[in-house]
Symmetry: C2
């Protein structure tokens, strides 16, 4: 009955661990690349393996040796490489609990592994941490179409959940390019955002309950299935976005909206940033409740993308392009709203040119113009990418500022992203990343963001790559509070060490 | 330009502290009524008052003596009465910080006071706690219509914020009957729900940032203005719903949707609970993105309400009534969707009769049939009220079960509430609340809810009245984690003592 119109999958981040072969020597070890010193954890002994075999009796629940564990020691982006020689794949919460209880007692460090689609090295071991992979905990426990609630295990792949929900006329409140690999537990652990956030809000709003296992093996059952539950502290939020450092999320209850049955995608050309802002405001007013995404692309990012895709532009040349999506429940109503918005935008001159479609393949084509930009920029020898939240008034300022600093030394500086969520991606690409270029970029981006009280990691999290930049978006008091929380949740520091806070 | 159609205000909970005169002797002191033993805090000395005078130099920032502080020692519902003789009314965060630093050093207990619209005695002193009232911190700092963000101080009254937002075509994501008294800081501290939750989600989703002061006076600045900010632990959620026991919320940044310009209200008669569920599912599908509220009223609650209001029923007699509201951005689109839904519901027989209107006064009249039920039930000599979240499959079972237990001993057992959020209010009213009746009700309601893994306090929180019922909705591990959090945030236990966890 429902017409599920979109399967938006970027080649760029739609990776699966199966794609990895043995670890390439080309990727430097994280410990060397990021100069990490090993904490004095124990190392895995034969007696530990015997114990793990007792906990995990089924075939292939334990992988041993760097050959078998290669896919768990490296990320898709080649940012990180670890040396974890033990991978444990529990099938239920009791097994997770028993594993952690043992590791905590023995002071064995643990790296928590989901779908391996993160971009900050948050789920890959740095040294010889034991890898705890949730992939076998992938059962959908219930889908209730009346209350709109999904309950499942943490290892469920996002795309599978979407499929099952679609059968009942429901949809996941989040959608990511990596949906065919990423797991819902990892989505929660990283507070994943994605392209529906503007419409359905973030996971702190959508997640009704979760179950997590603390470092000492204690199972904390917070599996509320209710939108309203004001009984004491709202503990589940501690785990959402903590990147596996405060506990391992094992089960999830999530509020899922009624699936929309209609969709429209517009691709617009805009003459300047002032008009971009006016267009955004106008689409909020005129599209109202059907507005789902509002994306900005600058001309450099756009040109790079169409060259990479070897496709012509659907419209004339403009300094800025906007991609606006609506989803709703009545196609003629939606089309009227879209036409009204477009007529207004074109007649007032805020938009110079544009196309609109509700044909699935054409919508997909338009979305590729936004989603494949990273593929284009990453096809250069080097590409630095920053994921920033900035106030809309200064949203695009970082791009000309960066061009002025390094434009003559690199091939490309471009900005694009979710303007509807104040989230810009700044990519800088070229032939050779010299120390000179790096130094012109790195402190500047963070200081620029910090001055505007922006976020130095909007969607991507902190992981292994960004702990030293935390100070640009978090006050000393907040970082101290984080450390206090870590200390009570994981006093031995065995969970995802070297990540988020060091 | 915008037509702000609803000003929904229940006489029942639209209270202001100014309504209180001196404390009536009729209301027993909380310490006696709930058998609370005073913790060994210090008592206020003259030197403390001198210190407070230094911190708060402006007139009327300090109120002294039970006459002056009467309004801060009693709640509207006459559940609680305290003996706080010192009320402090800071004007900024620095003053809050200085007050708490001093109180913490001196081990003086502090009760945090907002708009005094709570229903669990969470903001009223139990003994001689110092009352910290946020009422003078009521400045709106900024409203950004582009990004849709409001920044303000915690003492701002919700209704005032709504007014100011409406002027810019925006709306608050929450609406409460008490909006002309309640303060946004208190809304956050209690994670207030309300009648728009189904549409705009809860405060954990809407709040972008906050500033809070810890018990020791440390200011924790978490004033992010971004929907996406994944830099470290999401600390703000610790304060949301912690009822002032982990810190005092002083400033807020909140995402505010574009205000709808159209509204429809339906009032429907339904023959049985099965049809109620089918109607709910159908309205989610057919009304889609414009569905804002879906409320259930049983015939006993309804009859009590119309008798109290001395008004005829707008439709024939039914076992159940549903009130469904839509809001949107295009009146003809909305009306078409509403008509389509109604035609389907009436032709398939899931709905027996109904009225629909978009006239403001008539919509208000229909809403009164839902919102004034408590007024009716509370006009009895006694009325016990329970605020439960229950799975929709068993949502209404508690009402016939309770009727069977005490129906012959009381005048009224009725159920009504936000079926769209799985939140039912169970009210039991009569002439005299004997220990026999109380015993038949009190453990039963909580045990019934606990068996279904429901929430024993959906919207209202725990406050002073419900700590002993926490165990019915929270596991031992979760309660232990709450205690650990309390210990690191407020080691001397000075903030809102006796509330939430004892």
């Amino acid at each position: 009955m429902l017409n599920i119109v979109r399967r938006r999958t970027s080649q760029f981040i739609n990776c699966a661990i199966k794609q990895f072969g043995t670890v390439s020597n080309e990727v430097p070890l994280s410990k060397d690349r990021y100069q990490v010193k090993r904490n004095p954890y124990a190392t895995v002994a034969d007696s530990d393996l015997t114990h793990f075999e007792d906990i995990l009796p089924n075939p292939n629940q334990i992988l041993l040796g760097l050959d078998e564990t290669a896919g768990y020691n490296r990320d898709y982006f080649k940012y990180v490489r670890g040396l974890g020689e033990v991978v444990l794949r529990p099938r239920n919460t009791s097994q997770v609990s028993a594993i952690l209880r043992h590791c905590n007692r023995r002071k064995l460090a643990v790296s928590v592994f989901g779908g391996n689609t993160g971009v900050c090295g948050g789920s890959i071991p740095v040294f010889d941490e034991i890898v705890l992979s949730l992939e076998r905990m992938n059962e959908i426990e219930s889908i209730d179409e009346y209350s709109g609630i999904l309950e499942c295990e943490a290892g469920c792949v996002l795309g599978k959940l979407e499929e099952k929900l679609n059968e009942k006329g429901m949809t996941m409140p989040l959608d990511l390019g990596s949906k065919n690999s990423c797991q819902i537990g990892g989505n929660l652990a990283t507070n994943a955002g994605g392209i529906r956030l503007m419409r359905y809000g973030n996971l702190h709003g959508s997640v009704l309950g979760l179950e997590a296992v603390k470092a000492d093996g204690t199972v904390v059952d917070l599996m509320s299935r209710f939108k309203k539950d004001n009984t004491g502290y709202h503990l589940k939020h501690m785990f959402i976005g903590s990147e596996g450092t405060l506990g391992v999320i094992t089960r999830v209850a999530i509020a899922c909206p009624t699936a929309p049955t209609t969709q429209n995608v517009m691709f617009l050309g805009v003459a300047n940033y002032g008009s971009v802002l006016r267009t955004f405001l106008e689409c909020k007013k005129r599209l109202g409740e059907i507005l789902t995404s509002c994306e900005l692309i600058d001309s450099d990012g756009f040109d790079c993308c169409i060259q990479h895709l070897k496709r012509p532009s659907p419209i004339g040349e403009f300094p800025f392009y906007m991609l606006i999506e609506t989803t709703g429940s009545n196609s003629s109503h939606d089309e009227e709203k879209v036409q009204d918005f477009l007529e207004h935008a074109l007649s007032t001159g805020t938009v110079g040119d544009g196309v609109v479609t509700n044909e699935p393949s054409k919508m997909e084509d338009l979305w590729q113009l936004r989603e494949r930009i990273p593929d284009g920029t990453f096809s250069n020898n080097f590409c630095l990418t920053y994921d920033l939240s900035l106030p809309l008034g200064n949203f695009y300022d970082i791009v000309p500022a960066m061009k002025q600093r390094v434009g003559h030394l690199v091939k490309l500086v471009c900005g694009f992203g979710h303007i509807g969520d104040s989230n810009i991606h700044l990519n800088i690409a070229g032939d050779e990343l010299t120390p000179e270029i790096q130094q012109l970029i790195d402190p500047f981006v963070y200081e620029f963001t910090s001055k505007l009280k922006g976020s130095v990691s909007a969607e991507h999290g902190i992981g292994l790559l960004k702990p030293k930049y935390l100070k640009y978006s978090k006050t000393a008091e907040a970082i101290m509070l984080m450390q206090r929380l870590k200390a009570i949740m994981d006093p031995n520091g065995i969970l995802n060490p070297y990540k988020v806070i060091r």
